[in-house]
């Protein structure tokens, strides 16, 4: 029994799902494009390499007697594999579309780099733990990185938002990494002041939180939010705000914080709506995308067309026309999945994210150290909330904001950050009292 646990058989079994899915998926894309049943071994090289990478990580973890969670990595591998299949589908079947033609190769490279990052994070996890001492340094560096975007010539503006640095041939989106730094900071900060924050002092009938202790954190959080708003990155602002409130609530258990902060956020949203034209546009197209379907409502309308034409069972991989949706490879990838795999596919993807969230909280609740508990909750909340915000935007549940769908969307910074976060969660999962499950 103990030996079986060490051999990580559960992980091996679960890894079978993404392995078969990627082999079948990538082959299917090639066959659909070719229109006949002829194929060569060349067609599955990428899939075989991906399976190889999964097995390599698994073997490494087994050989080093890694005691961490066995479900997390297969779940992440499954999501990554869905992303790879979709990117391959965009590149091969929409080869004439210059935006989509190159995404498969680049995404594949990023995935392999991401797996390397994951492994490195697990291997050097103990060292990373020590870095929490420099939390202020990290967070200030992170904020500077974000501020740098505002410097003319440094930040690259794409589609009206300055969210990228150009590093040679690649675009780097700093917030993807900064959000991890922010969560590390919040977890470390809150963990150190756990007892203080839970306390309160009374002024007459009012029970007030220990405001002085909150000041540094509040300053950093308000600062990051302001930077994100100035950068017009509302999705990230919402995401970061949500994670902040979640961690604060975890530590204090006080609903008052949630209400007050939620109130502030609503107020900010109203002010933003009044002030910024682009916020108004987002809200209006959310409420009625078809009133200006040629222009502002175009993207969300295309998304709804894709989802609707997918119906229950979908058009089948490669048989839809998702290339009509602007930014289908990044923000809108869920619509493409909905079109080609139908309602069944959409719900399945939602289900996999739920498994990821469940596993993240499970790991956090079993973690031994307070810092790890909070870090785990923060990272899991990012995964869950980010998926929620972007999918909700795509299906017209909330106004559309630009965020990537974790592990599935095309994007190097996003993939690397997600694999880094997975590595952290895996590291946390190994730090339990009874030593893993």
């Amino acid at each position: 029994m103990i030996r079986a646990r060490r051999a990580r058989l559960v992980e091996l079994e679960l890894l079978l799902i993404p392995s078969l899915l990627i082999l079948g998926g990538l082959l299917l894309v090639v066959l659909v494009d070719r229109g006949n049943l002829l194929f060569s071994w060349q067609d599955i090289y990428v899939a075989a390499a991906f399976v190889g990478a999964l097995l390599f990580v698994h073997t490494y973890l087994s050989l080093t007697r890694f005691r961490g969670d066995q479900m997390l990595f297969p779940t992440v591998a499954l999501l990554t594999c869905i992303g790879l299949v979709m990117m391959q589908r965009f590149s091969i079947i929409n080869a004439e579309d210059s935006d989509l033609a190159g995404v498969a190769v680049k995404q594949t490279i990023w995935v392999f780099l991401g797996v390397a990052v994951l492994l490195a994070t697990v291997v050097f996890f103990d060292q990373i733990n020590k870095l929490r001492r420099y939390k202020y340094t990290f967070v200030v560096l992170g904020l500077l990185l974000m501020l740098g975007l505002l410097v003319p010539g440094l930040g690259q503006e794409i589609n009206g938002a300055r969210l990228w640095y150009r590093l040679g041939p690649v675009l780097f989106q700093p917030f993807e990494i900064v959000k991890v730094l922010l969560v590390v900071f919040l977890a470390a900060y809150l963990d150190e002041r756990r007892d203080l924050l839970a306390s309160e002092y009374r002024v007459g009938p009012l029970r007030l939180p220990p405001l002085p202790y909150l000041a540094p954190m509040a300053a950093i959080c308000v600062g990051s939010l302001l930077i994100l708003v100035v950068l017009k990155d509302l999705g990230s602002a919402l995401l970061f705000f949500g994670v902040f409130v979640a961690l604060l609530y975890t530590i204090t258990g006080r609903v008052l914080y949630v209400w007050v902060l939620g109130g502030f956020f609503l107020l900010g949203a109203v002010v933003a709506y009044q002030t910024f034209g682009h916020v108004q546009v987002r809200v209006n197209t959310w409420l009625d995308p078809f009133s200006d379907v040629e222009n502002t409502g175009f993207q969300i309308a295309q998304s709804l067309f894709a989802l609707g034409s997918g119906g229950l069972y979908g058009s089948g991989l490669g048989y839809g026309t998702p290339a009509e949706i602007p930014y289908v490879e990044t923000d809108m990838v869920f619509s493409a999945i909905g079109e080609e795999f139908g309602l069944i596919g959409s719900l399945a993807v939602l289900g996999v994210y739920l498994v990821l969230v469940y596993r993240g909280f499970f790991i956090s609740l079993r973690a031994r150290r307070g810092f790890y508990q909070l870090l785990g909750i923060g990272l899991t909340t990012i995964f869950g909330l980010q998926s929620l915000i972007i999918i909700a935007g795509v299906v017209k549940l909330i106004p559309l904001t630009g965020l990537t769908l974790p592990f599935i969307s095309y994007g190097g910074s996003s993939l690397l950050a997600n694999f880094l976060m997975t590595g952290l969660l895996l590291g946390i999962s190994a730090d339990t009292r009874e030593g893993g499950k």
């Binding site: 409420l287 078809f290 309308a301 989802l307 997918g310 229950l312 969230v357 999918i391």
Partner: protein
Amino acid sequence: MRAFLRLLAFASAVALLVYGVLSGTDTVWLMTLYAATVPIGYIFFSMVPRETIGWRRNTWKIAAVLVIGFIMLSMQVLRQQFIVAADIIDHPNNPRKVTQELRTQRGRVFDRNGTEIAGRKIAPNGYVTRTYPEPASSYVVGYYSATIYGADRLEERYDDYLSGERGDPLERTRGNVLHRPLRGNDLYLTLDARLQRIGQELLGERKGSIVAMNPRTGEILAMVNNPTYNSADLVFDPSRPNQEAAARVRAAYNALIEAGDARLVNRAIQGLYQLGSTFKTVTAAGALDTGVATPDKQYQDTGVLSVGGFVIRDPNRPDENKVQWTFSEGYMYSLNAVFAQVGLNVKSAGMREYARRFYFEREIPFDLPVTPSQVQREPDFLTDQLGLASTAIGQGQLLATPLQVVMTSAAIANGGVMPRPYLVANIKTPGGRTVESQQPEQLEAVVKPEVAAQMTEIMQKTVNDGTGRQAQIPGVPVAGKTGTAQLGENQDPHAWFTGFAPADDPKIAVAVLVENGGQGSEVAAPIAREVIEAHLR
């Protein structure tokens, strides 16, 4: 207690969502969906184990909030992909509709001998171009101008079959599952593409129309119109960048309209023309059927006839000295004075009745919309003696389509029973199964069989010895009637001929109209002869 509250919360959440779904509007749905999070939230929060306390309890609640978020997402996805999906994808701005339209392998159209009239060319990238290999027949089929002008004629009338929307649901489902492009059903027409080409050549530069049908069955064998157009000009190849091609199609269409000669009108079924003497067939059949005349009944014709104070002139008498003419001779030589008297004998009610029996003033059931022919424009025209007399000889306010005229002959040829005209004989699925099949039908018994036989004999005499001599074919008995519709001082008359052959065993009935062509006996009759010969050959 807690279980009961949970049940209550669950019920209220379900009730809210059901109301949201039934209300139909997006805003109400979103409001109910957001409202439903309150009871669902209560259920989840109340389910956090009691023994879980402190930060663990808080974490459970955060997890619950995320799960509620995913439940809302699932509900919204369910709505967008299932409940309102059909409405959303019908939106005109959905590019999938256009792509699907351009990739639909539209059904082909064949003539009675299997000649392809409308076909398809499938590019390697799946886009389909409509082809029209038979320009003379493409006019009847109409055009299918994807994404620009839509469909016309048979292409429009049978669009649901041709596009594959209707047909064999099983084959369609199988095609969907196997991701085959949608394939439409093929039409098999009664039309003879060869006869169409011959008819088009015979008309040449002249405006006009030729309609030929099998009088026994109602199958339309030819429906030629001139001036015509080539449906292929209104189609572009969507498999390549098509800005220029679309501009070419628009230019071609505008040219058709600017030509100003009504080439987009299907003259054979939509053109209303003065009839001239071809209407005498109706008058004669009515007179014989009601018994007010026999073929040998004598009438006086002195070249003029005074009716109601007006004078009807008769320029058609072959012998100016002869004043006694039989009913048969009156028809053979198209004597106006004789037929004015016949008409007065039939009386206005009878005239109206027989015109209606021959389907004047009525909707003719057909594969394409037919303009009803007109007996009178003013409601009391026929009650007036002069109106009645001039109608009886084919003048007055009569207006008819060439199809109406050929059906008149077909009813006589078919023993007095009007056949139902039709163009589409069979509709077959891509798999070759027949889904629709038109059997010959009879519309109405117009005159007694004896009357039809008498009329056949008279019409045969008309071709043998009367005005229709130019329609004679050696060895084949032809029955027919000429017509020359006077239009006024400065215009040449319309030339008409209608008839059928062989008279003893009719296989084809024709109507020929040449607009402003001159004398029916000289212009229309020879064309009819060529058409009949070509068919019987």
